[in-house]
Symmetry: C2
Subunit: 330 residues, 2 copies
């Protein structure tokens, strides 16, 4: 257990380092704790023994260790209130009634990325586990249709369909009716195989140009799944400006992770509430912290996340994300 003075000291060191990005030396603190630098050094040394602080080299000042950040977040940090300025910027977007909720989130995260100088990630609703609840077709001309697929969670996607031959509108509506009868309730990522095994055998009995129609629909449905995940990022470059990412190789590494769909998708939040993954706790990169939380729109879950250096302004970020999610839920 830490003494009060150790806690004070630790808090000062972490917050000073978060702000300055430079190892914190003993002299810089002694005024604030009313004691000599030698005393501070002794205390620093014991905090290091506890694994909360580290040195970058043998005679350097101290920086928080990963364990230190974790301890800070769990036990030391005091949640702040949103500053007036921050609130003002966000409120403008929140109050804009003409924006869809998903766009409100996007804009808010853009603003937050800018305010904090971290990188924002928005992972839209994943429709993998959605069930098809309705399929509709809108004719455009002789050869082109638009198929619209609606899921039980209200997710909608559309796809252009090109017919390889002329087909009567009667045949089209028959096919759509059939698809609706057979496919409703199917998970969206299984639709194409359902088409093959349930619709194909039947369609040939009822519909004249069944080959053309079947092929067209099969190809269209085949791709609904792939477009499902909507990923958005803002402020990629912000994080690259942080002093911890000032080597060419590190920057390239981060940029290449930003670009990797799988890695970014992996940020999707699993747990409820705001979760903080420091360094090796996250799957993105050992040198960063990922803070993420779920949001729900129309029953579909999405994730918003901020990626920054481990030396993140934790309480501010948490306050901001809280504010967003609270407002979304209204």
């Amino acid at each position: 257990m830490l003494t009060d003075r150790q806690k004070d000291l630790f808090k000062i060191i972490v917050e000073e380092y978060i702000q300055s990005a430079k190892p914190v030396g003993s002299k810089a603190i002694c005024e604030r704790l009313n004691c000599s630098s030698a005393t501070i050094r002794a205390e620093m040394s014991s905090l290091e023994d506890l694994g909360l602080l580290e040195k970058t080299h043998i005679s350097s000042g101290r920086i928080p260790s990963e364990k230190g950040y974790r301890y800070y977040v769990d036990n030391i940090m005091e949640p702040k209130k949103l500053s007036g300025e921050d609130m003002l910027k966000l409120q403008c977007i929140m109050d804009n009634k003409s924006l869809a909720l998903s766009d409100v989130i996007e804009r808010s995260m853009e603003i937050i990325a800018e305010m904090t100088n971290y990188t924002a990630v928005i992972l839209g609703q994943s429709s993998k586990d959605n069930l098809v609840s309705k399929v509709e077709v809108i004719p455009i001309d002789d050869r082109n249709l638009v198929a619209i697929i609606v899921t039980d969670k209200g997710h909608v996607e559309h796809k252009n369909i090109y017919l390889e031959g002329l087909v009567s509108s009667n045949d089209i509506s028959k096919t759509v009716e059939l698809i609706n009868k057979l496919i409703v309730g199917t998970p969206i990522d299984e639709v194409s195989s359902f088409l093959e095994f349930k619709v194909k055998p039947i369609i040939s009995n009822y519909v004249q140009q069944h080959e053309i129609l079947y092929n067209a629909f099969y190809n269209a449905f085949n791709e609904f799944t792939s477009n499902a995940n909507h990923v958005n990022m803002a402020g990629r470059v912000n994080m690259l400006k942080q002093p911890e990412f000032s080597s060419v190789d590190k920057i390239r590494e981060i940029v290449s992770k930003f670009e990797d769909q799988d890695i970014v998708n992996n940020i999707r939040a699993e747990e409820n509430g705001i979760n903080i993954y420091i360094g090796s706790e996250n799957n993105f990169d050992d040198d960063v912290t990922v803070i993420k939380t779920k949001y729900v729109i129309d029953g579909e879950e999405g994730t918003i996340a901020l990626i920054g250096p481990k030396r993140m302004d934790y309480d501010r970020v948490i306050t901001l994300l809280n504010y967003i999610t609270e407002n979304i839920n209204k």
Copy 2:
């Protein structure tokens, strides 16, 4: 006018530099031209006087100047055939019948980005100048609708609509009918103002819950324009690996340009055919070359582009892009 030997020399220097990224000295060439390094030096000097070559410092080897690259592209370069290996990789995607054309383009550009180590940009159809040709509405439940808007060029978008109160299906279809009557033929980015000035005055006479419906549609249409441009990039990190981008500041500059929607959108091709913009000829960055060309799907134009260092493998890139556009047009 250049002598034959000057042309040969120039070609060798440019291609050597494209390949090695290191200034080319006189000694390295003398074997290939059967003369001494002193002779090469004299010729290099005159090519420099013509503005085709540059030195990085007073006693360095030569590199092509911007004007030199331009001359190389216009007069020296001989178009290559696609290598068997390159063709094989692309053919796999082209032949995949289950892919929509736009996805074929996307995948192909991903492959090309990987093969060349440059960055690919795909700017999908811009719907700014599309005219609305049809509006449809699909009810999902009591409170939710999906509006689908189809343009004269076959572009389709959809938007979820949430009704702030209960509205009869009759009212909804009346409204849609009205919208269709009044709005068809309007440019898509003017729809919301048309709604306000043409539909609003009339709707109140015919429809019960006109306020709710009007607001819902107004908000939905308001955003069709913003989602119009589909931008996709592949291999962002590739270009950052090129030796000319090995300073932290330059990398940050490029990444931040990649992130800027306006700058990226500005890449959209204006002219027909494959166009090459070297260094200051492009609006992206003086240190890069942008090669771009239009493609057409269903009457809508898009752009594919490759961004690389000025020291680009011009003939290979041109061959690749040619191959893509030719195959798309079939």
